[in-house]
Symmetry: C2
């Protein structure tokens, strides 16, 4: 129990079962045995994406998957509508620019989220948008975008729908085929609760049509190669993958299958609600409006007169609970509680118990136990 | 003992100590504790590279490091001299082309290696070569290139020296600073004997001068970002790294430090010699000439009338020893024994015992024990 509890929007706490899985012996990545593991892991991944498309496993961070999603679909100067309401929306814009795309930015104030009608307006203004990028769950602001509704709008346009579900998949509703998502990607260390270092991407038939007409501008993340090697005998990746992390991802996906995806999402929604109620009971103010707030991470305004190092430093050093700070211009203005992966009432009880003590220690007027009580009310 | 023995040119057998290290709990990748691990691992990495330059850890395959080495130094149409004597030399050429470079290929027959004077000749013919790429240890052919001598030639030219030591670092002589290497990179799963999925790259001052004048054509592998985050407080990587695999790499590098780099290289040289002597004693023919053969992988001609699936299939299925086949046009014509990482006489005794039985079973005339005897003669 003395181990630091990670309440971050990734990496999240990894279960012993997964830690045991990754410590198995490494096998030949070009063997039939590994081909089976790769195939099964990809299939489990597609189930979580809710897609009939093939999922490809990339050895790299979530940012590698972002790069794969963009670099493979762009010829020079292709227009991309980047919906930007936080740091990861900005990152997709930056990647678009690095790979020679022509970024049309739909900028939304941090803490708010894209409205489907705003996206429709941009598509009407610009006829030749090759792709629209949306971050489902903006961890920097704790806001979830309405990707289902946006998908409905995009069905009337000849454009690819690219959705970043790095910090939502496995913790919030994502239905790749039903929402009409062409390219969807995620990371291992968020709601899937595997160690960091793997990413996954899935591509629709329309996505492949575009990719097949694009000159590759990435070698390591060239999805055409992943497709080719993926149907080999045995199925392989083009370059040596992290066999070890794929063991971990496989085990994490088996755990998700056992829990059931719907039950898992409900658990995340409960954890989010409990976090919001508990924060409010302690007199704290939520950063985004509740109706658009994320199921996997909650951003909370820093109390007046309190510094980030005081609040998060005390939480970490005195109580061994690691929270996330604000990013970029939100640094010092918000702190964030990640409740993704394996989080239950237990971790939230610890977190709010620690937060209550921290706030009290720092001179803030709180009733000890009042936050934890709200957690219990949600989970009882 | 019933576990399959990997005698591949990567991934290699990972020690229990490293497997235990990777199963430790994941910590926050933006914490002071992780900053220390990152710093120490980078420092240990630089010691193995024998450089005073900073080493950067990339979450990805060796191919990610190849891409980082090329994509960061090229403006469109910059000339690169790609020395090609096998599959990985070809890969560096392909990456050069993908990133808009103008590849000048010095093609050498597979099984042979570049002569410094040939490289000199190319540099005299082409004044504006921005970089020369050399694969130190061409795993596809089992040949080591004379990177020290090539470095001496390159000192007279204003060009970057880019050396792929993916399958040699930690098993053969690499002295980045002394050889004048500007960009050197490696992978975790070869001679370092960590699990696959991490790569490392080191850059000289001259290398940085070039990188600072190049427009980034990669986002995930943009080395300028790695440099910036690497000197942060705490030191970080720009994107979530594989905390887990860095634990493993750290432990693997500590093991190398304990063994001593010189002793480790001597052990690899012994293993290579033992492998060659044993193969010859069994009547097998080495693919490359002995004087240029690799310290970490030995390529052997497939005996006449024997198929790859017979030889390697029997080794794998009957005797649980995994060897590598030939790549591209060498498929079916050679097989390869990797002897990198933690290999001692024990693994070679198993391998040659298995190979003797396999050959005999397949109707080849061998004296059982005659290969193993040669291994013992080298290691006694």
């Amino acid at each position: 129990m003395d181990q630091t509890l990670l309440m971050l929007p990734g990496p999240t706490n990894v279960s012993n079962r997964v830690l045991q899985a990754i410590s198995k012996n490494v096998v030949n990545h070009r063997s039939a045995i590994f081909g089976e593991i790769l195939t099964e892991t990809s299939q489990l991944m597609s189930k979580v994406f809710k897609t009939n498309n093939q999922s490809y496993l990339l050895t790299g961070s979530g940012t590698a998957a972002m790069e794969a999603a963009i670099a493979n679909i762009l010829n020079p100067n292709d227009k991309v509508l980047n919906v930007i309401s936080g740091k990861f929306g900005e990152r997709l814009r930056d990647i678009t620019n690095v790979f020679g795309g022509n970024s049309v930015a739909l900028n939304i104030e941090w803490g708010d989220c894209a409205k489907p009608e705003d996206i429709k307006e941009e598509l009407e203004k610009n006829e030749d948008i090759r792709a629209v990028t949306v971050v489902h769950n903006e961890t920097s602001t704790g806001v979830a975008a309405p990707i289902k509704k946006i998908g409905k709008v995009l069905k009337d346009y000849d454009t690819l729908y690219v959705v970043d579900t790095v910090s939502s998949l496995g913790g919030d509703h994502v239905d790749v085929d039903k929402y009409g998502i062409d390219i969807c990607f995620t990371g291992s260390q968020k709601c899937l609760a595997a160690p960091p270092g793997m990413a996954a991407v899935t591509v629709s038939d329309d996505g492949w049509k575009v990719i097949d007409n694009v000159k590759s501008s990435t070698y390591y993340l060239d999805l055409k190669k992943y497709r080719k090697y993926g149907v080999g005998t045995p199925p392989e990746t083009p370059y040596t993958p992290s066999v070890t992390l794929i063991y971990g991802l496989y085990e994490a996906l088996k755990i998700i299958e056992e829990e059931g995806l719907d039950a898992r999402i409900k658990r995340h929604e409960k954890a989010a609600k409990a976090t919001r109620e508990a924060a409010k009971a302690l007199g704290l103010k939520l950063f985004p409006k509740e109706e658009i707030s994320s199921a996997t991470v909650t951003a909370i305004n820093m109390p007046d007169g309190m510094s980030d190092s005081e609040l998060r430093g005390t939480m970490r050093n005195e109580y061994k609970v690691e929270l996330a700070g604000g990013q970029d211009h939100l640094k010092g203005n918000v702190f964030r509680i990640g409740h993704m992966g394996n989080i239950t009432y237990k971790e939230l009880a610890i977190t709010f118990s620690a937060l209550e003590m921290t706030l009290k220690k720092l001179g803030f007027d709180v009733d000890l136990g009042s936050g934890v009580a709200e957690v219990s009310k949600v989970f009882i």
